[in-house]
Amino acid sequence: MMNKLLSKSFLLSAGVLLAACSNQTVKAPVDTKAPASEETGNQETTEPKTMTDGLGNEVEIPSEPEKVLASYLEDYLVALNVTPVAQWSVSNGESIQDYLQEDLMDVPLIPHDLPYESVLEYEPDLLIVRDAIEQEMYEQYAQIAPTYVLNASPTEWRATLTEMGEVLNKEEQAEMVIESYDEKAAEEAENIQAVAEGESAAAIWMVNNSLFVVHPERSSGAVMYNDLGLAVPTVVSELSSDADWAAISLEALAEMDVDHLFFINSDGPDAAIFEDRLWQNIPAVQQDQVYTFGPETSWLYYGPIASEQVMDDITESITE
C-alpha cells in the first residue's frame, strides 16, 4: 500500500517537474549566455606534461595555461609574469596582499578558503595549491581544472618558485629571478655590513595588541638574517616554534638586546603599547632605531617580490 502510494506521488511530482520545465523553456533565449567560454583548449602546440604533485597525484598540466589560479602564491606568479584569474583575499576583500596590487590591481578576489563554486566561477585551466589539502577536496577541484599541490615547503620561497617555474613552463625565468635576487642580496649585505657590522635586528609584528617575532629562517626573517647577514638576538633564536611568527611578551621584548627593530604595526599609531613604560624603555626605542611599517607592506609574506621589498626596506632603514 505504501509502495503504491510512493510511486504514485513520484509520478505526480515528475509531472509537476515537467510542467515547470515547459514553462521555463519559453524564456530561455533571454538569459542563457552566462559568462561561459569554451574557446580555449585544442590550441596547445606542445604536449602537456605530467607531474607528480605534493599529494602524490599524477597531474597532467597544460603546456600553456592561460587562466591560472594560485591563491596565496600570487607573489610567485607576478615574479614569473603570470597574471592569475583571481587573487587571494580574506573576509570579502578586507584583507588582500596590498604589496602586490601594483600588478594585481585588476584581478578579481577569491575567498582564501577557495569555495568550489568560486573557483568554478573563474573557470581556471590550472589550479596551483600551496598547502596540502584533503584528497577529497583535491578530487573536487580536479573536476574543475588540473590541480597541482606544491611539493615545496611554503616556508622556502626559492624552492617554491623553482617548482612553480617547472609547473608553468618558466624554469629559466624562475632561475633568473632567484639569481638576480641573490646578487642584489649579496650587494646589499655588503652595504649593510659597511655601516652596521655585527649589529642585530628583529622584526616584531603587532596585531590586536599582541606581539609576534619573526622566525629567524622564514619570511622577512630569512631576508634579515640569511640574506643580509644581520645578527639574530638571543631571544629570537630561543623562541623556537614552528610558527612563522612566534608570540612574544612585551617584557621579553623589553629585555631583548637588539640594535634595529623593524616594527610591523597592524593596530595603527594610537595603539596602547606606545604609552607603556616597558615599550618606552626598550633600548632600540630610546635610541630611535625602530622602523615602523604598515600591514600593507610585504613583511608578513613569502616570495621573491615580498623578499625584495623587505630587503629594500631594511637597507633603506639602516643605511640612511
Binding site: 521555463q24 530561455a28 568554478l120
Partner: protein, 340 residues
Amino acid sequence: MNTNKIIVKNVSYLLFSLLTLILLMSLISLATGHLALTPSDIIKTVLGEGSKRNELLLFEFRLPRLAIAILAGAALAVAGTLFQGVTQNELADPGMMGINAGAGFFIVLYLTFRAQGTRSDGLWQMMTLPIAAFLGGLAAAVCIYAVAWKKGITPIRMILVGIGVNAGFGALLTILQLRMDQRAFNQVTIWLSGSIWNASWTAVGSLLFWTLILLPFSLYKAKTLNFLQLGDEMATGLGFHVEKERIKLVAIGVALAGASVSVAGGIAFLGLGAPHIARKIVGNKHQRLIPTAACMGSLILLLADMMARNIFSPTEVPVGLIVAVLGAPYFIYLLITTEA
C-alpha cells in the same frame, strides 16, 4: 508517549504534498548558490546543451549535495524514529544516545590510520567508511546495552546510559583530536559539526545503497514498533520476543545513523526533531510515522543546506550548525508549551 490529536488523517495526501515540497525545494536549491543558475540554465544543462561550467556546477557539485541532503535527512529521521520507538521516549535520538559519537569516533580513528598507511582511493574509502561508522555506532549500542542491562532492559535506563556513552565517546574523540595537527583538527571539527560540502557521487552511491536497504526494512518493522509501544509486558503477552526485536531495531537504527554520519558528519537535532514534528502531524502509528518522518528529515536538511550555502556565500557554514540553530528554538518552544 501520549498520542496527541492527529492533524492529518489522510497520509497519502500528506506524503504527496511533502514530496512535492521536497521537489520544489530541490529545484530552488539547485538554482541558488554563489553562481546563480536560472531555471532555463538548469533545463538546458539537463538536456546536455548547457555550458561546461554549468554542467560541472549542476552535476558534480550541486546535485550530489542535494542527493546527500535528501538521503541523509531521511536516514537520520528514520533512525531517530526507530530509537524513539524502541526506547519509548520522544527525546531519544541517535545523536544524544552516543550512536553518532561512536560512529564519528570510529571514522576519525579509521581516517587517522588511513593517513598513516598507504593512501587508498576514494571509492574504497566511500564503501568502507559506512562500515566503520556502523561498527562505531554498534560499539556505542553494545556499550549502552551492556551497562543498562539488568535482566532485560528498560527504556529509561537505556536513554540515561546512552547519554553517558555519548559523553564517553565525545571524550575519546577529543583525546584523538588533541593529538592531531592543527589542520587535521580543524577538518575533523568541521566534519563533526555536520558538513556535506564534499559530496561526491561515490558518497551518494554508498548512502543510497544503505538507505535503499534499510528504509524499506524499517517500514516493514513498523508493526513491531507499534507493539513495543504498548509496553514490554503487553508486547510479550502478545507473543513478541521483545529483547530480540529491540536489538534488531537498534541495529537498523545504528546502520542508518552510521551511513549518514559517514557522509554527512554529525548532524544533531534532526533525528530528534523530524520524527517529533511528524508525530505531531500523523500520530504514533509507525506505518504513517516512518515515511512522514523521512520526508520531514529530507525537507529540513534540504532547507538547512540551502541556508548553509547561501547565508555567507561563497563561504559555507557546516549544515549541522544550521540544523541546530533551527532546531534549538523549536525545542525551547516545545518545552514551554508542553505541560509537565
